[in-house]
Amino acid sequence: MKKEIKDELKEISSFLSEIQKPPVPKVPEQYFEGFEARMMRRIESEKSPSEQRSKESWFSTIFTYFTKPAIALSFGVLALLLIMTKYISTDTATRDIYADELAQVDKQELLSYIDSHIDQYDTEILLDDNTDLIENFDTPYPDDIPDTL
């Protein structure tokens, strides 16, 4: 017994300080030797399924999901939608670039191009879809119209 504690006990009860301390209780053989291993087994066995899953790799978890047909099909549809969205947005962007470039072309240049390639245009298209362009055509003077017409 520590001296400090022995002295204190003697001061309170000299009778008790003379009594030998009871022996340390007996423990089954090998009890302490295998204790840690037993505890770790118990802890593992008591872990909830979600705790056990968290220790698995993320790849194996994702792979497990893809083995389910419904999830795989859903993912496929989603991927297809994403690809289509990307294609459409690219097409729109391309068209925007063409519109910008067209806007920079000089009006006279444009009209001379149409004049020289007029045979390539369908009249209906020129009338319906390019009304703003047609409106920009200078109205011919009556003098320019041949009398024969």
């Binding site: 022996p23 209780p25 423990v27 302490f32």
Partner: protein, 185 residues
């Protein structure tokens, strides 16, 4: 019982707080404290089977909550506090077992030596009986001071009681034990 160095506690906590080494840290924690905690619990519950059950429950709780340990007290104090609470909860839910526990300890003492030690053995048995009938608080203080030889500061942190109150409890416990033994021999 050997003192546990602060550096050892520090190493245990460092390992426990890293997910990759937490199991290693927990094994080190058990290896360092299992015997001290076992005997502390055994003194309270009295027999090996119950002490083993309580000790395992203590370590399960420690494993699940060690991430919440904020080092406001030492690891040693925290573990003793959990062990003390678990043992008290066990005793409260198994009140009738306390008599059986004392019988087992008494059996160990009376079969411990030859005739020349019988008087000493009898006194030791009386001492255990006297401790067993002490109020819970006095019993805890007496066991931690007399059997586990802890300082009042350590006991104060474990039982969350002032040093002055602990000294008074220990004094009363010793006087009651002395009176019980003298009155029964």
């Amino acid at each position: 019982m050997a003192e546990v160095k602060f550096s050892e506690d520090h190493e245990i906590l460092r390992l426990l707080r890293n997910q990759d080494t937490s199991d290693k840290g927990f094994r080190l924690l058990m290896g360092t404290y299992k015997e001290r905690l076992y005997y502390h619990i055994r003194q309270m519950v009295g027999n090996h089977e119950d002490a083993d059950d309580v000790l395992q429950n203590v370590f399960i709780k420690v494993y699940r909550n060690v991430q919440n340990f904020q080092e406001k007290s030492s690891l040693f104090t925290w573990l003793y506090r959990i062990a003390t609470n678990e043992a008290l909860n066990f005793l409260n839910s198994n009140k009738t077992k306390q008599t059986v526990a004392l019988d087992e300890v008494a059996f160990n003492i009376t079969n411990n030596g030859s005739e020349e030690f019988q008087d000493e053995n009898e006194i030791q048995m009386k001492l255990l009986q006297a401790v067993n009938i002490l109020p819970d608080k006095q019993k805890q203080v007496f066991n931690l001071r007399y059997n586990e030889e802890m300082s009042y500061e350590e006991i104060s942190q474990i039982l969350e009681t002032s040093v002055g109150a602990l000294k008074a409890s220990y004094h009363h416990a010793v006087k009651k034990i002395e009176s019980y033994i003298k009155g029964t021999i």
